[in-house]
Each structure stands twice: as C-alpha cells, then as structure tokens.
Symmetry: C2
Subunit: 190 residues, 2 copies
C-alpha cells in the first residue's frame, strides 16, 4: 500500500534494537484519515471472504480494527491481555510471549463472542515474531470458527513471524513489509 | 441517548459489586453500528468546540475515540497504562488508581502529541469514580492545552466521579447516566 509506505518513510523512526517507531500516526497518535484508507484496503484484499467478526488484541489493534470493521459491516471483538476482574464466565485462553515487554501473558476472549458459525478476520498493527497473532490463531482454532485470514498494517519481514504464519497456511496480507532497516534507510518488499 | 439506553436495558447485565457488564456491545465485543451513532452524538454535543485532538486511554476507549474522531476530523491520541519500552522521549505522566484491577498505575502520553495550541476532547467508555478521567485531565493541564470537555458513553451516576469532574468546571457529556441498578431494574437519569 503505497500511501502507507510513503508515510512510514516520512514519519517512521528507526531505533536501536530493530524498533520501528510509527507512534506519530499509527499506535500512540492515530491518523484517522490514513487508518480509514487502511480499512478500505483490508476490505479490498478480503472482499471475497464471508467475514462475520474481526478479532484483534488490545491495545493498539483496536482502533484499526474498529475503523476497518465499518467496511466489512461486522462487529469487532478484542482479546484482552491478562486476567481481568470484569471478565467472568468461560474464556478462550492462549499464552503469548511479548518481546517488547519481556514477559509472558494470557490472551483471553469470552466464549460468548466466537463460535463455529463465525468467519474471522484477524487485524493487528504490527507483525514481528508473530507471537500475538499466533495467540489469536489459537483462540480461533479453539472456538471452532473459520479463520479467513489476517490483515497486518506493518510486517517486519526480517523477523520470522510472517514466514511461520504463511507456513501454517494462513492467508496473511501485510500492507507494508519492511525487509531491512538501518538508521538512514528502510527497504520494503515489493 | 435513547438508542444507547435501550441497548443497555436489552443487553447490559448487572453483576454483584455494582458492575454493569456491557461487554456484548461496548467493551469486549463492539457493535460498530451503535458506536458510529455514539460518535455522531458526541459530535452533535460538542459541535461548537474547536477540537484539534481526541484523547482517550487504552484499551476500551480507543475504538470509540477512533470512530468518533471521523466526525471531528481530528487525530486520536491514547494514553498508555504503565511504562512501555517502546515509548521513549519525554512523557506526560499521571498516577491513576484502578478500582477494577485494585492497583495504581501510571498513565503516560508522549509530549510530542499534545501542546498549548491544542483543544482537547476526552472520550472514554465508562465513568465511575473518575480516576482514569482525572488522570487524563492532569495530562491536559500539564500540556497547556485547552480542555474543551469530556464525552462518556456510560456514567455510573451513583458513584462520585461525574460530580467531582463537573465540580471542577469541566464540561461533561455522558450519553447514559445510570442512577441506580439492581439485579432486575436499572434507572437512568433524565
């Protein structure tokens, strides 16, 4: 998606430790005009899929999923990290390791909101090692729903998450895949 | 907002400890059609304000803020809970006590995204004791921005957050104010 790649080149900042900061438009401050275009692009790429629910994970996936859901005309469900006192009843649960925060946490989703009749599109802002997305895929499997695919805004192509998920046979659409980055250059996959 | 009140009566569940669960349409599964109407209503109520940014707090406020922001044509910024390795540089910070999770946490926002030139609308899903909203108000004060008001989806009128915030002179618009609730009845303020 050229508009997104241009924006990453313009406003993305590369930090030590292979960190790409896009917090001025994607995951701290959110440019809603850009995210609307991202939502339309996800709809274009998954137009042939009978999506009934969009599943994401808190926190930064939620806004993107909500904007995109307008084009699919379906509800958003978001998995929560760690146990919450407000969540009772039966839960789908998967363990996820966060490299950013250096810890393992539970990803949980109420069983009420996903079942075998559903066709699910996963949406998230970033894909690097794939742990969060694998947690969501686990939850979809546990629910018996059909996984139609995953839409990612930015994939770090030099980490192995994308490869792992494509090797599982999951239809993965990343709107920008960064194949390499240094302080003064950033290369996208064609 | 009648549509919202009707939905709370239809799908809200009262749990022991004064918990009102609206997770089937607002803060776990999200009914995007309803949230669009909520966004329009916030715009109607704050139409006279020169809003430049919508500020919310992760996680459940983000989706509502993003949908609403489309009607204001402004970016969303969301404050984060606790310190994150991905957030560097200078931060606004406020301490917030969570009654739901029984702990104190930091609410942080990058200084890059809010300054004296901004006119801010706060948006969140719930207002009970007001701690989260007071944290956001602190951050706006620290930034020197103008606080135009706060838009809340559901206010628990029997807790003191709304009163505290109105007493501070903040323009507070809650789309549904629950004045009392028991297992089998729920009363809204007129």
């Amino acid at each position: 998606m050229q508009l997104l790649k241009d924006r990453i080149l313009k406003d993305g900042i590369v930090k030590p430790g292979n960190i790409l900061k896009v917090d001025s438009f994607l995951n701290h401050q959110m440019d809603i005009t850009l995210i609307n275009e991202i939502g339309k692009e996800f709809k274009r790429r998954f137009a042939d899929c009978p999506i009934t629910k969009i599943l994401t994970i808190e926190a930064s996936g939620i806004g993107i999923a909500c904007i995109a859901a307008q084009y699919f005309d379906v509800p958003v469900i978001f998995a929560k990290k760690a146990q919450s006192l407000n969540l009772d009843g039966e839960m789908y649960c998967s363990k996820v390791e966060s490299f950013t925060h250096k810890k393992v946490y539970d990803v949980i989703l109420s069983k009420k909101f996903l079942g075998p009749e559903d066709h699910v599109l996963l949406i998230d802002d970033f894909l690097a090692n794939g742990c969060a997305l694998l947690g969501l895929i686990d939850i979809v499997k546990e629910s018996g729903a059909t996984l139609e695919g995953a839409g990612i805004v930015i994939e770090k192509g030099f980490q192995n998450g994308g490869q792992k998920i494509r090797d599982m046979g999951v239809r993965l659409e990343s709107l920008a895949i960064v194949d390499s980055m240094t302080d003064d250059s950033l290369t996208f996959r064609d």
